[in-house]
Amino acid sequence: MALIDVARRPSKRGPLGSGGAGWVLSLPALLAVAGLLILPIGQAVYYSMTNWNGQTATWIGPRAYLNLFQDPTFLRVLENNGLLLLAMPFAIIVPLAIAFLLHEEIWGWKFFRSVVFIPTAISWVIIGLVAAQFYAVKGILNGMLSSVGLGFIKTDMLGNTHQAIFAIAITLIWSQLGTNTIIFITGLAALDPTLAEAGRVDGASSFRIYRKIIIPQMMRFIQFAFVITVLTAFTAIFSLIFVMTGGGPNYGSTTLEFYVYQQAFNQGDFGTGALLGVLLFVLVATVSVIQIRLLRVKT
């Protein structure tokens, strides 16, 4: 998979000399990345140890990190991040099943493939707008329930501090279907077909072939999809939360990423915002490094 290459050195091939030209051509990229990505990380680490409202900063030091863990809201936010992980099995298994179906080339599979991929082109804001209507008190979900005679179950997931995060998680599963299905279809296309064929000749059922032969070969793709989905859940659904719940009710759907925004830009506490951002960075870097290590060992 592509990301393995990140850890691999560039090949030693390539024409010799002209070192100057190499620098000239990579300089704009280097400057942009250094100034707009690397420098801000350094700044964030510094700001994270200050009490800072955007104008005046006073130094607190590493103690700022300890203080944060005393904050019950912060613990709630961490818990919400943890709860999002409950979506992961579904976000993997459903696309895997869809990829198997498409791979079987059932009738109309090319059409279905395009349909399943569509959410990858749609913004979280739009997804959130429609999802909010889905969960609304007078929304689609309650409409469906009452039309099958279950009208007495009145759901209000977005208005419930313990359920809002699950509404977000379910929406996340829907919108990741496309991305993860693409990953699995790529994986299936790259499989060695002779193994499955051998299984079939031996009279194994389709189910057994998938379970014993295909899924084991798919493990690295499953792992890759898992990491991508975790990273998305932790760092890329700000807009979904913003539109669906605004982080509420009562921080019920605030994740670390959303808490950064709330602390800094709603409450003007830039220092705590920066600290939360640094924690998020450490979390993401850890997940990514583990991912690269695991993939490298296996390949």
């Binding site: 560039p10 990229a29 990505l37 830039f270």
Partner: protein, 292 residues
Amino acid sequence: MTAILNEVPDSSHGDEDLVDVRQRRIRPARIVLFLIMAGVAVVMLYPFFYMVDNSFKTQAQYEGAKSGFSLSSWHLLFSSEPILRELLNSLIVSAGAVFCVVIISTAAGFALAKIRFRFRTVVFLAIVSCMFVPLPSIIIPEFINVAKLGLLQTYWGAIIVYAALGLPFSIFLMTTYFRGIPDELIEAASVDGVPFTKMWWSLGIPLARPAIFTVAVLQFIQIWNDLLVGLLFLENTDDRTVTVGLALLSSGRVASVPVLMAGAVMSVIPPIVVYILFQKYLVRGITMGMGK
């Protein structure tokens, strides 16, 4: 890994006999599978139907008091929201950032893949490892820095931030792509005396067209759909993008749902068109690493 870049992930494995055997054996099962897939398709498509359907209703029709279709929500959208201006803003910002990303990433990718220079590996790893920097982690310093440069509430502020965020992955993709191009092509040109800096433009860009499409499509969709940067860096009503406009309209909680849905339909058209035209490139980009 260029193999992945070069092949469209079609699930057709070219093993015709195998498919035939399977089809003959489990035909009734295939009907069930088809029905399951059709159910999935309904779940995937229903939100779009919902958007379009409700955008052609009045508030009363949406609430179910009346039936029928109406254009009044569309009228209301155009009269109450600067939606065309917002679409234009989205276009300017996305196109500007995509242009910057394509120019900078082809240059760097060409150099990192094809020219040997000191610290090349270090430069490559430094740039590419920034792929893992999450936007929320740097958004606060970024906001302060852009404000200090006086670029808040200007297109340029948003464009440079979007471009920087897109660069690591794009450069990774370009470098991988250029590595797959035979050195002989570059050597031949350098024997002819073409300087490397010129070669990037005259040889590199034409050769990298598929990778450029992938980068451009992926970045366009990502930037068009982003909320956070737009929300903070383009706050003024006149400057904001359509995604920001819609998010703010919805967070007001007073907006009529049919008007919101009309706005959603408008904002979804450009990425859907890009998706339909360039699906192949988008798929390629996602399987190269990270998607949206």
